[in-house]
Amino acid sequence: MWVVIVIGVVILLAVVFIYNSLIAKKNQVKNVFGTIDALLKKRYDLLPNLIATVKGYMQHEKNLLREITEMRAKAVSGRMSDDEQVELDNKLSKMLGGIMVAVENYPDLKANENFMHLQRTMNELEEQISAARRAYNAAVTNYNNAVEMFPTNLAASMMGYKTKKVFEISPEQRENVDADKIFEN
């Protein structure tokens, strides 16, 4: 009699534990995604300042700068799905990379204190975004492990949890930044 009760309690505790851990993992994924969002917004906020600083110096990159301004406006408008947002953000990263490479041709700009401060801030922000993406992938992997591995997969299928996708960059973005190609546009 007692054995049955003890076994019952143990199973109940296990179920509670598994249920709660799945919820915690799902929320962690949401949490990190939220932080990425916040960091990206921070980057969008910096862009006008960057454009204003380099506009006076960079005579040859006017098209690029205009494109960046347009992209930013689109991103901030909030009229995009998550996937589109990610796609836009990746494109923006590449263009910003291009600007930083082009700066090498303008020693005056390079020495400009405002620009140097901006450059440091942008570097830091890029590193933080990259760290957040890595944390997102770790959270998703952790969640996917729970959804797919035994015995938590039983609970996951009952709760309707499906695996999520990790952050991937599309093949074209995996190419290294080619400054000439960017300025051809």
Binding site: V32, Q119, R120, E127, Q128, A131, A132, A135, A138, T141
Partner: protein, 319 residues
Amino acid sequence: MKTLEDFTNFYKTALLADLKALERQRRKIISKLTCVIFTILCILGVCLLVLRANSRVAPPFLFIPVLLCIITGAVICYFMTRGYVARFKSLVIQRIVSFIDENLNYDADECIDKSTFMLSKIFTKKPNIYKGDDLVWGKTGATEIKFSEIKAEHESGSGKNRRRYTIFKGLFFIGDFNKHFTCETVVLPDTAEKLFGHFGQKLQSINIFRGELIKLEDPEFESYFVVYGDDQIQARYILSMSLMERIVEFRKKTGRKIYLSFVGSKVFVAVSYTKSLFEPRIFRTLLDFESIREYFEDLQLAIGIVDDLNLNTRIWSKQ
């Protein structure tokens, strides 16, 4: 960073003359020590014979003169070599430190204080026996550093049950990190994962004394270390892919157990050593280049942590 060739030149031009003088002092100390030990042994022999002849004295009491002789011998050794050690450190260690980087200062008797040692959060047990020496501090490149030799032990119980174990013995290094951060992250040598694989990781994650377990992407890094921290994103901001690679390279270079932590925008590195660092060996000749090279390599390793971890690259908001 100075190469071994630079050091060989420095050794020949600057150190050798002083080493010869020190060597003469060392030889004198050895001969004096030999005399003293011989005398003590003779006295001991005489004492023992006298006591044995006197049959009323039980055998256990024979240990008293032996013990007294050992203690006297040790005390005499200590006082005789103290001057030599101080001279060695100021003539050799101090000069090697200045040679590697003239912006660095050296103090043979100081060490990193206990509160800073605990601040690193690497070791959670508070040591009740704490000593160290050979403090080096200053700014190399753009990075402020401070390191010393530390021996931290914990003694518990009293009388017969007194047990002493070593919390940490070796080099303790503090450097100004090149990024701002507010979280606390600790990188510890990994034993569980090596032994138990995935299940080991599960065990590590329920360690309540440390913060959250942070699983990183570099498999080699994960095989050597386990990371705990209180912020998943900031920990990855600190431990970039390139820093993880560098830490693994450094671990392979030393071949020893190393611990790191990132607290208060500083990086703490603890390298375990079984030998005593920067101490002259009384019974080894100073004129052998290999023995002096060891001091150079130990110092170079410590100061080189700045380059190994790329701390002088200041392209983020911290300058």
